[in-house]
Every structure is written in structure tokens, then in C-alpha cells.
Point group: C2
Chain length 129, copies 2
């Protein structure tokens, strides 16, 4: 059976594709962080939303994230997801196609629902290769 976090991440990806960032922010914890790029971090929903708006614009409003292979490591109310994240901005332009091994940390919210606490699409590439 597919882990519930796979469906959750799919909802996040659809919200990003549709640029529905208000809905997207419902999927983050209040003190969540997003790694915009190595060394640059957005903290909290307001900064994360602003970052997503800028990222969408940077990719000419054509950013489509999808997930390939995914492994969910669940420990009580916390989960680490290792995921092959594909970012496509324009299928005719290879420059805008990125294949990353991302690390996402989720925790259960007040109603037991999963929320994203740490969104790091760069995975372990944040340290020297």
C-alpha cells in the first residue's frame, strides 16, 4: 500500500504547479523551513510563500515538480522522506530540468495530520560532494 505521505507530497506538488500557495501553506508547520538554495533559508509560512512566488516567477510560471522513487522513514510522529524530485520548467529546454535527491521532514500536527517541517530539495548535496 502506498504510504499516506506519498499522496500528501503529491498534493503539495499539484499546489506548486497550480501556484496555489495559500493551499500549499496549509501543508507546512508554522515554524517550517525551506532551503531555497544552499545557504539561503526561508523561515515560517510568510517567508516560504514569498519564496515560492519568486521561484515560480524565476521559472516563467511553468515549474512542475514530480516525485520518482521515494523512501519513507517513519518514527512515531516524525518522518524523513528521501525522494527523487524532478523539477521541470519547460520540456523543450533541458536547462530547466533538474533531478534531485531530496530530503523532507514531516511531523504530525494537532489533528494527527502530516505537515512539512523541513523542505530541503537539495538533500545531502548541501555538503561538499
Amino acid at each position: 500500500m502506498e504510504h499516506e505521505l506519498k499522496g500528501f507530497i503529491k498534493k503539495c506538488d499539484i499546489a506548486i504547479k497550480q501556484e496555489d500557495f495559500d493551499t500549499l501553506m496549509n501543508y507546512y508547520t508554522d515554524d517550517a523551513i525551506l532551503v531555497i538554495k544552499p545557504g539561503m533559508i526561508a523561515r515560517g509560512k510568510e517567508e516560504i510563500k514569498t519564496a515560492f512566488i519568486k521561484i515560480a516567477k524565476y521559472f516563467n510560471n511553468r515549474l512542475v515538480p514530480t516525485q520518482g522513487e521515494m523512501i519513507v522513514l517513519e518514527a512515531g510522529d516524525t518522518a524523513l522522506v528521501i525522494s527523487e524530485t524532478l523539477l521541470e520548467a519547460d520540456k523543450n529546454d533541458n536547462e530547466y530540468s533538474m533531478d534531485r535527491r531530496a530530503t523532507y521532514v514531516f511531523k504530525r500536527g494537532p489533528q494527527g495530520e502530516w505537515l512539512c517541517a523541513i523542505d530541503n530539495s537539495y538533500g545531502t548535496d548541501l555538503i561538499n560532494k
Copy 2:
């Protein structure tokens, strides 16, 4: 200033080197998980302690973990640490020297202290390269 989690992880590494697994278990949450190897997971302190005893034996009781470059991504009571983990079992035998890009998830315990919830030294290598 060095992040407090760097000192915490150093204490874990010393406990592993000294094979002081009772002390080591104080650094994990009750429902923590350890990725023993891809596809094999230890759940809870009892299984994790047993796994560390077997790992120590496998490496002829000479396993010495140390950390190189490290990045701490902290979001409220949760943190993801990306770390260059060096595992040495015998300096004269290159076969037993491993250099990994690990992912560790920590959360704050009842007294505000950090505890390891997800111990995955394989990082994003759990999915196909």
C-alpha cells in the same frame, strides 16, 4: 558558534567508539529508528541497541565514527542534520573506511533536550543513484 547538535553528535560518536550502548540509548527517542542497511530498519531502543552490538562485532570492535562537514537545518523542535560521516574500523584496511553523507533527524524531548529520532547514515543513497 558551534551548533549544540554538533556537540551532541560527538557524544554519540564517543559512546559508539567506547561501545557504551546504554549511554548511547539515552540519546534516542523511544520510537527512534536506525537504518542498519538499505531495507533493514531497527525500531525502538531495544532493537537499536542490539543492532549496534552486532555492528560493533562485525567491525571487530574497532568502529570509530567521526563527522566532517555538517549542516544543521533547525525548524522549531525538529532538526535535520546533513553530515559527512566517516566510519573507520581499521586504519590499515581501506575496506573498512567509509565516507557517507548521512541524514539524522532530531527532536526535542520532554526537558527540551535533543534526541535522535531517525538515524540514517546512508542519506539519499537509499534511492537509486
